[in-house]
């Protein structure tokens, strides 16, 4: 039998969510400020370098990647054998200045104060957000992912938390505005469009498979969110690198905080691989659960169709990475299309769970 409902807890939770959204908003501004400031600083350094006639190397001063001098475009070793990667290689260094950030995405020695402030604020927001998720769970007496409101709030928490965790190993702060912006959108959408008071689960959802299946799905989606951001940046960066290499004007100065297209591609591939395994589990556990709940493990209902489509698109992505002529930009597009399907699936969920309300019908 389900635990009791505690509405006071539910109200606390909503308060926490509100506070978290506010803190994220300030963090977002700090991230944006960091982008603006750093790109300005970089431009100034470039200018000086140009005046001083320094042709090849920009002095170590501002850029993230400056610590290791020059654009790093090396990916995993085998990439060098692909005809496509050699093109990118020349692109990066050809312009003579620091075009992109360090491909290893390691932290540089130089400090970016706004970025540090932004990360600190995001950490604070994630803590408050976490309190909101926990109080929600306590209020409902169950895992906090039983309806759209909860998927969004818990999902946003995971996106932010995964982002912060990845910051421990890599300097992905260039993704900050994107990730935090998305988290804000998710929180706002949850509160405005999908607000639901704490409540019990319908019997169809009362299963330990809810805990397993949905948590993995949300976690994989959080990872797909990061790779989506990287793939989108990869497209911009690849376009920019090409322009700069062809001697064009660099209109997107802030993009020099972002690693090269190839580095982005490689990192997003690795994250996508993890997320793909997660999604495979999501699909399998969903099927096992469907078998328990409805007596068939696969019935091609809307939700199942889209889960399958997403899986196939990302399988296509993994294949693309091993197919000549499909690495790079095309793979990035597949990653983006896959994520759009994830979003679509997520909004369709709403309808799906409405469908379950007629569960007691015949």
């Amino acid at each position: 039998m389900p635990f009791g409902i505690n509405e006071t807890m539910g109200q606390y939770s909503e308060l926490f969510m509100l506070l978290a959204a506010g803190t994220y908003t300030v963090a977002f501004i700090a991230f944006a400020w960091d982008l603006a400031k750093s790109s300005k600083a970089l431009r100034a350094v470039d200018l000086k370098a140009a005046q001083a006639g320094a042709a090849t190397k920009v002095p170590v001063a501002a850029g993230v990647g400056a610590g290791s001098a020059g654009a790093r475009l090396d990916g995993p070793a085998d990439r060098a054998e692909r005809p496509s990667s050699s093109a990118a290689r020349t692109t990066g260094s050809g312009a003579g200045g620091v075009v992109t950030a360090d491909g290893d995405m390691k932290y540089a020695t130089e400090r970016r104060v706004p970025a540090r402030v932004a990360v600190a604020l995001t950490t604070l927001a994630v803590l408050i957000h976490g309190a909101g998720v926990v109080t929600r769970a306590l209020g409902a007496g169950r895992v906090p992912w039983g309806n759209m409101y909860e998927f969004l709030t818990t999902g946003a928490f995971l996106v932010a938390a995964v982002f912060l965790l990845s910051l421990i190993r890599r300097d992905l702060r260039f993704l900050g505005t994107f990730v935090v912006g998305l988290v804000i959108i998710m929180l706002v959408a949850a509160s405005v469009a999908f607000w639901t008071p704490v409540g019990h689960l319908v019997p169809a959802l009362q299963s330990y498979w809810l805990v397993i299946h949905v948590s993995i799905a949300v976690l994989s989606s959080a990872l797909f969110t990061l790779t989506f951001a990287m793939s989108a940046l990869q497209l911009v960066q690849s376009h920019r690198q090409k322009t700069v290499a062809a001697g064009g004007a660099d209109k997107l100065g802030f993009m020099r905080l972002v690693p090269s297209a190839l580095s982005l591609e490689n990192l997003s591939y690795r994250i996508n691989a993890i997320a793909f395994i997660g999604w495979t589990f999501t699909l399998m556990f969903g099927a096992i659960w469907a078998e328990k709940a409805w007596g068939r493990f696969w019935g091609w209902d809307t939700k199942e169709v889209w889960t399958f489509v997403i899986w196939v698109v990302y399988a296509g992505y993994l294949h693309a990475r091993a197919t000549r002529g499909w690495t790079g930009t095309r793979a990035a597009w597949l990653s983006i299309v896959g994520y759009l399907c994830v979003i679509f699936n997520f909004t369709i969920v709403n309808q799906f769970f409405n469908g379950l309300h007629s569960y007691s019908g015949l």
Partner: protein
Amino acid sequence: MSERVNVKKKQSAPVKEAKAQAALPALGPKGMLRWAWTQLTSMRTALFLLLLLAVAAVPGSLFPQRPANPAVVTQYIKDHPDYGKLLDSLQLYDVYSSAWFSAIYLLLFISLIGCVVPRAIAHYKAMRSQPPRTPQRLSRLPEYGTLVIPADAAVPASEAVSGAARVLRKRGYRVEVRDADGALPSLGAERGFMKEVGNLVFHTSLIGVLVSVAAGGLFGYSGQRILVEGDTFVNTLVGYDQFNPGTNFQSSQLQPYSLQLDKFNITFDRESRGKFGQPIDFAATVTTKENPDAPPKQEILKVNDPVTLGGTSIYLTGNGYAPVVTIRDGAGNVAMQGPVVAKLQGDNYYSSVVIKVPDAQPDQLGFVGFFLPTAFVSDKNVSFSADPELFNPQLTLNSYYGDLGLNKGAPQNVFELDVKNLTPLNARNLAAGGITLAPGSTYTLPDGKGSISFDGVKRYIGVDIHHNPGQLYALVFALLAVAGLILSLYVNRRRVWVRTGTADDGRTMVEYGLLARGEDHRLAGEAAALRKLFATEWQLPEEGAPGDTSENAAPSQQTPRRTSDNVAGSAGKAEGPAANAEGSITTPAGPTGPEKDQ
């Protein structure tokens, strides 16, 4: 779009032309077949078919699907006279069994087989063969480094190679030492064969899943049954309300177990604001018997918690109320008595009721109306149910008499009454008015046609019964697929070559290079780890802080920069034995570098 694509196009256009010119005249029927097969099993085709499969799956979520809900499809076609039929002819209501969807996945799986079999053979051979020959110029490899063993350590080149072989073997490499007693002994090593094995297992298991699902469809069966409290279901063909046999089904497959519904309990949410009155727990107490002679056993059937019996699983898929009525005919005899399954229509178990009384004399009787567990009348004089529980149960009915048309043998929907050939007796707009009954009350029909009593209310459940022999296999293959996938993504296939030589001053020079097959972002880490192990093996002194040598000691801009994780010393190219010995010793390597991957 991008530079890569453009570059690729520029390269491939002339190549394609050349290919086409070269290949066309030679193609006989056999050649054509071979060409088609090569195309079908190419990676590009696999990718294309995968993406096509994703696209083809989408319409099934946009249009109603027959297997899920045939009635909705019929309605949809009626509602869209302009294109409803056209969609049907395109099989858009049966997407997942359509010719085009099947064609895509069958092609994909043929391509898969065509891909897996040769790869499996090639990999089997690779696993049994020696690591490839040592490349002439190790410095060209993505990871490359050198070590120097001082002369006073007295480790000659041949011993250094066998030391390196030891280190590599311990680390799981398969090692072959070449030219051990020559001037430039070397070794080739390889590991990570499980990567390809994982990949092959993964793809093969996908075929296994597909076959299991197909087999389940062939040999399985499923059916539905509604059980009112007190009813017993016996697993025979007549026991089912609806039965869907698989293609190879035989009725002897049915084990005659029985399942009786003793009691059905629902708990409603009385706590939360938003979902007040929503069901939060369904529990059916059932008594089961494996076969007619077996001892009875009481079990609880719940949502998400099926009962398994006689090779089948029994699922709780629906429920509702069944008002119990007694109907007497014009002659005063009981023409019908028992529960009538009310079909859910709206909130709070607002349900429709259809009662057909073919045994009534002299005229057959029919009733159509609604059952409301907690009847309420709104300001606008509309009846609705205010609560799912039986606080104020009410039956409101219209009645008809005449020929129900049941004797003609055409199957009828028990939930619908065709009133075309019937004469109305009771209705709101008739003088007699409609029938409104509370439990325990009786209404006498006009014109001496009989009476109807509302005796009480029972609950009913809907159960789905499934037998799917393919299920277990599908699960096993799916698990195998995941295991293979993880191996294939996380095992790294690597090759290492080491070459040693003795310098004029007696030092032993060692150079080594690493090459990954496939994606491997930890190759540099492996290079660093091997370097450390080698240093320990030859008791070389600790190296300086990582990073200092690689940046500062880089001798020239021409040296392509290696992946940065490769710390200390990777730039000491000039000290490699081959380089050192350039001119004086000729290396026995062939003209090409390391074997290319693709």
